[in-house]
Every structure is written in structure tokens, then in C-alpha cells.
Symmetry: C2
Subunit: 424 residues, 2 copies
């Protein structure tokens, strides 16, 4: 233990920041014993110094301006837990890297949008960017892609990257309640924020997918290339028909060399992704050498995310850092229209003679070939139809649903979910 | 790319060795682009130089004696893929570390038995030991415990660590065939070796559990402390009753701070471990910060294991190494008798009046409290009973089964499987 400690300053004392302080105070000796190098917190900061956070912070140096942190004497790494893709978080990230200090962050939005610029700064100043905590909590998603599978050509990766959406969808599924009702419960339980749009709109998952895609497919982070659809339109009706047909609906992010998208998708009920319930996250990686790797665990949480931050800090304390992201351009960005996929589709039609025949004719006329169909009994003049298509171009399917949605006998917006099997 | 390459010599050209040569020739440029450092194979060796391995090896230097490899000019790491816990593998490992070269190996038996001595040699000579490939193929099991979760106090870990056994048990399950029959199929398919005793006896899984336990619980590898039971006695009958009661039988290795054991266990059918079929491996880790992490993937295979070896080589090429194992003694080694557990038990009794009453009385007399019981109809004078106990001391249960097995009306060996839920 003759070596200097690895000295960090922590900006932001929300859930994760406090979790990290607790972790270091509880397991710091164990870490020092395991690695031979101690981690020392030499400064902390948050918006309010006086707020009661349920933790005695008096032994830490309070740094009044987080932007002063990179100038602290002997500081090695700055832990940015402020959040947001601009403002102080961005300024602190830039200043940290310019000062040649390591940046440890859980901020996926910041990296998804400014990752390329920050990676350049890191390279110019011989500093590292570590961000395991930004994807899937304590699940070693980044480490697996950035380190363990580095000898692999990855074909495809993806999974359940947003715990809030997974909690909402799996609660709707188990209780039969509607989206709005479960969203309110999720807010009350702390699983959703007061303004949940980043989560339920799919943007948070898209930020994470941007980072994973950059690493896996060797290009700079490019958030704008991700197609994003949220879960706001998922109905309890759709979940129930998905179940009858052997599927669950999950917000899934999937990327390959040419495309990246986040959307509610239908996944096999008993498969790896279908069995992920509550706020868990899961990642499936398909590659040339390792074939398939599946990782799963809590997607967030105080100690869980702190565990990931600490893993990064320990790596850096041992001088172990990697190129933060892939570099260069994507091979080509395909629009979703070029994909071939099968879809699970829910329609609500009027329960009248001749309508089913008209729908069948319209499907055929639009070139939609149906693999499975269920037609539960109608009620109050409306009837539901749930079907699974044969593989078709995503573009052709969108066109078909647009055409069919315009017919008189279609009573509600059509819900169409891509089916994602991940090789299962 | 101005840096010297990381130079390796490969001893052993079986499946994994050839897979590694293929990986480097296929993805070597990609790796160099990703890391900035090339990996170069400067020597190879195997028992026979002339054997046709389906790969052109003429461009590699053939090293006639693998023990000369550590003396190769500028060699950085030796990849030991010879196998076996003694002989050339052990000599080569010792010589490599004494020469201050890195040892990369997939040899769990060697490390489980000689890990402590080899770790001392590594420390004395500033060399590294990397062995991701020795546990669960390409699944980053070692990396997760040794790096990602280093800030965690791990409470318990374990899972399915032997693909051969999992293939056999899940095939018995899906086909209803008996153990011996499926074992022969597994041999024919290359899933089991001609002498399968290391796998089916549970020893291979115990070697792996020894390494994981050392890392997770901070003690030197201690193979002799693992309680080992193989799958040879698992009947198709037991699998079928387990299914009826909601379980599958898997060879599971589980360790905590005070104990480590490998045995066929009953796991919930729809849980993480129960859904692992074929030759896949899976690892569940429960800890104070990350809570629970689940990893799954192919447990072996040419390219899969090569992927893990390559991950280690890349880490070492970047100068990233860790202490190989935990050091020191276990807190205390508990015998299985001190465990409390529930068991799934299969009995075959004579189908005569009064026998069921006698069994019930014997169970009560032995203090075995029954939670669930099924009694399918008897045939040919014998009847089966499958039951799940309430929690009891493992020691008391063993005593009870010994007593009951000695009764006249018990017609076959009693099968008792600990139920392992892993928090599910």
C-alpha cells in the first residue's frame, strides 16, 4: 500500500453519488486489499450543500464550484454524476479531459451526444473516459463489449436497456392495468420520474444503444442515427393478445452494423428477453467468435449503479483504460424501411358482417401474408384481431397499415410490433 | 501502431489452440485497430507436428519443446492449452512465470490445484496469470468477478459450469431417455469425451467453482474444500417428477464465504438456471452492491473459448493484469452437514397396502416435514413417490434418507436433490 491513493472528486450527490460514497466507506478497505491501491474521495459537490441527504458528509471537502474539481491538487479522476447533456455536466467533462484527468460518468445522454468530441479531448490529453454505469446498472455491459469481446466481430446486439419502461410494461402485463395508471404507480414508487418522457419516449434506451453500437461496430457515437419509438402507445389489449400468441411486449433496443433502433417489440414469452420482468435490464450480444452472450441484472438503483462506477474507478486506479468509443463513420445508415421483419399486429375493427372479409382482402391487396391470427369475440360493436405476419419489408408493412388504418371499419390506431427473437 | 506487437507462443493445438490461430488470422487487424497493438504468434507446438489439423500452419515457427517457449526471443506471453493438472502443462506454467512472462491458460484443473503456487511465482516475477477461458467459454465470468464486481462483497455465486452435464441432463429431460443412452449420444456428438468422468463426476465444474470462489471470497484456490457429486445417479424418472413439481435437475456449483459444492440440484423450471438448456453455461452472482448479476452463453466450443483466450491476450497486450486469485485462508470450511436446505426427493417403494403409511411414519419419525408430494400410480408392484421437503439441516436429511433407504419397502436408491433458487 505504498502507492498513492487514486484520488477522485464527485460532482453530483443524487442517488448514485451517495451510493458511491457509501460503497467506498463500506468496501474501501476490501478494494485496497484486493488491488493494492486505495480510492480516496478528495472533494464533493452538489447543488445544495445544506440539504439533508441522510449521510454525514462533513468529513469531505466541499468544492463550491464543480468546475474547480479538475484543478484540485493531485486529483486523478472526476466522477460526473450531475446529469444532462449540456450545461455544467458538459463543461465539467470538457475541463476534466483538457486537464488530463480521467472522466468517470453515468451520463449516457452526454456521451451519446458529445461522445465524439469528448473522446478527441481524451486522446489529446492522455485521459480516459469510463462509463460502465451509464448502461444497465451493475451489469458489465460496456466491459463485455469494450474488453471481453474485443477479439470478436459483433453482428448484432441489443436488449432491454430501460428499467422504467420494462417495469411499466411488465406491470401492465401482470395486472392488466392501462398504461397511464401504471405510469402513475411507477412515479409513486420512484421507478419513473415526474417528467418521464426521456424514459418512456425511448430516448434513454437510445442513448445507451448509441454507446453500445459505437463500441460494437467501430464508429463514433451517433445518436441521430438511432430510430426511436416510445411505449406511450402500447395498450393493455396489445399485451394481452401478445400473450395469447406467445409473446411479450418489451421496449427493445437493437443495433447491427447498419442500423440501430429502439421500439416496443414483441419477444418470445419464454425467451431470454421475454422473461425479464420488473426494472431489470438485459443485453444479448451475437458475434462471430463468442456466438451469443446474455447478460442480465438490475438496470439501475443506488448501490447497483455505484457498483458500476466503482468498477470503473478501480480499473483506472490500476491504469487500465480503453479507447472510449469506436471511431469513424458507420458503414451506412439504413432506414428502417430496408429491414425485413415479422410483426405482431393488433387491430380493432367494427363487428359487422363482411368486415372480416374486407380486412382479409385488404391485407392480401397490400401483400401482407399472415402466419397466425386470433379473433376473440367482439363486444359493443367492435372486435379485435391480433395477427403475426410472415416476414416482409418493414416499409411495405408500414404502407399496408397506413392503408388499412384509413378504412372505415378500423376503429382504433393499429399497433404493430416488430418481433425480435435474438436467435431463439 | 508504432508499438511492438504483443508476442505469444501457443502450446497445444487442439480445438481451442486452432480456434485461437483462426481468430487471430481473421480478426487480428480489427483487434490492432481497436487497441493500437497487434498480437503476433511467434511460435506454436503440439504433440505431433505432422498431424493434419485442417489449417495451414507452415507460416508459424514450430517449437519442438514447449518448455523452450518462455525462452523465445521477445516473447511476452505463453498460451498454455495442453491441459492436465501436472506434467508438461505444470512445468510450462512454472517456467513461464519464472521467466517473468505472462501465462494465459484455459486449464482450470491446473489452476484449481496449483493456483496458489503459480500465483506466488507470478508475484515474485512480475508476471500475470489470465484464465477467462477456463470458466464458461466466452462468457466473461472471471472478468465480471475479478474486475467489474471488485467493489462488491459477494455473498454467493454459482450456476451451470459444465456444458457436458447440462447437455446430458437437458437431453434426458427432453427425450425421456436414460442417462447411459444420452451419454453415448453425447460422446458421438463430441459433447462428452471418451472418458467422461471429469465432466460427469462434477470435477470439472468443481475446478471452475474453485477459481470463482477464490476470487469472490478472497482466499487461495482450494479445490479440496469443494464437495463434489456427479450426475451419474440422476435417473430419467427423477427428471420427470422434478418437472411435475416445477423443477429441472441441473449440475449446479454454488459457493459462499464458507462452503462450496457441486451437485445435481433442483432449480425452478422457469428460472434463470432452469431455462439453461443444451451445453450452455450460466453464472449467477449475488452481492451487496450489484445485488444480482446473471451471465449466460455457450460453455465451450472452438471459437467461443478462443474468444475468451483472446480477450485475456488483449488485456495483457495493454498491460492490464490483475492479481490472479484471492489470497489467504477461507473463513472456515463448513461441511455440507451444517447447511439448511430444502430437497426434492424421489423414492421407489413397493406398491402394497400399508407401505405408504409406513413411509409417512418413517418420514415423521426422522423429522422430515413434507411440503409437496406426488404419488403417480404404481406398476409391477412398485410405486414412485416424489416429494419436496420443508427446510431442514442437510445433515438431518442425509440421516433420514439413510434410515429410510434401509427399509424393506424401498426398492431403489433414494435420489435427493437440494433445491437451489438463487433468490428466485
Amino acid at each position: 500500500m505504498s502507492q498513492n491513493p487514486y484520488r477522485i472528486a464527485i460532482a453530483g450527490l443524487g442517488t448514485v453519488g451517495l451510493g458511491l460514497l457509501e460503497l467506498i466507506s463500506k468496501n474501501g478497505d476490501l478494494v485496497a486489499k484486493r488491488t493494492g491501491r486505495r480510492v480516496e474521495v478528495i472533494g464533493i459537490n452538489a447543488r445544495s450543500q445544506t440539504k439533508d441527504r441522510g449521510l454525514d458528509l462533513s468529513s469531505y471537502l466541499w468544492v463550491h464550484d464543480p468546475l474547480d474539481m479538475p484543478d484540485l491538487k493531485n486529483v486523478d479522476g472526476i466522477v460526473e454524476l450531475i446529469g444532462g447533456d449540456s450545461g455544467t455536466a458538459l463543461s465539467l467533462a470538457r475541463k476534466t479531459l483538457k486537464a488530463g484527468k480521467d472522466l468517470i460518468t453515468a451520463n449516457k445522454a452526454l456521451l451519446a451526444i458529445h461522445g465524439s468530441e469528448l473522446a478527441d479531448l481524451a486522446a489529446q490529453n492522455d485521459a480516459a473516459i469510463s462509463y460502465e454505469a451509464s448502461v444497465a446498472g451493475a451489469v458489465p455491459a460496456i466491459k463485455t463489449v469494450r474488453e471481453a469481446l474485443l477479439g470478436n466481430r459483433i453482428f448484432k446486439l441489443g436488449g432491454i436497456l430501460n428499467g422504467t419502461c420494462n417495469f411499466i410494461l411488465s406491470s401492465m402485463e401482470s395486472t392488466g392495468a392501462a398504461y397511464e395508471e401504471v405510469l402513475e404507480q411507477a412515479k409513486a414508487l420512484g421507478y419513473a420520474e415526474a417528467d418521464p418522457s426521456t424514459d418512456v419516449g425511448g430516448f434513454d434506451a437510445a442513448h445507451k444503444l448509441t454507446l453500445l453500437s459505437s463500441l460494437a461496430f467501430d464508429h463514433a457515437p451517433d445518436f441521430s442515427a438511432v430510430t426511436v419509438k416510445g411505449i406511450e402507445g402500447v395498450t393493455d389489449r396489445a399485451l394481452s393478445y401478445a400473450d395469447r400468441l406467445g409473446y411479450r411486449i418489451r421496449l427493445v433496443g437493437v443495433a447491427d452494423e447498419i442500423s440501430a433502433r429502439v421500439a416496443p417489440m414483441a419477444v418470445p414469452k419464454d425467451g431470454n428477453l421475454g422473461s425479464v420482468t420488473g426494472s431489470h435490464n438485459a443485453l444479448h450480444i451475437i458475434s462471430d467468435q463468442a456466438r451469443e452472450i446474455f447478460l442480465r441484472g438490475p438496470g439501475a438503483g443506488r448501490s447497483e449503479t455505484a457498483s458500476a462506477v466503482m468498477g470503473d474507478i478501480i480499473d483506472l486506479s490500476l491504469g487500465h483504460s480503453r479507447a472510449p468509443f469506436g471511431v469513424g463513420d458507420r458503414i451506412s445508415v439504413s432506414s428502417a424501411s430496408e429491414l425485413t421483419e415479422t410483426q405482431l399486429v393488433i387491430l380493432q375493427i367494427s363487428d359487422e358482417a363482411g368486415v372480416m372479409a374486407a380486412l382479409t382482402k385488404a391485407l392480401a391487396g397490400q401483400g401482407v401474408s399472415v402466419d397466425q391470427m386470433v379473433q376473440p369475440g367482439g363486444k359493443d360493436g367492435s372486435a379485435d384481431v391480433a395477427l403475426v405476419t410472415h416476414p416482409a419489408s418493414s416499409h411495405a408493412l408500414v404502407k399496408a397499415w397506413t392503408f388499412i388504418a384509413a378504412q372505415d371499419y378500423v376503429l382504433a390506431p393499429i399497433e404493430a410490433y416488430p418481433i425480435e427473437r435474438f436467435g431463439e
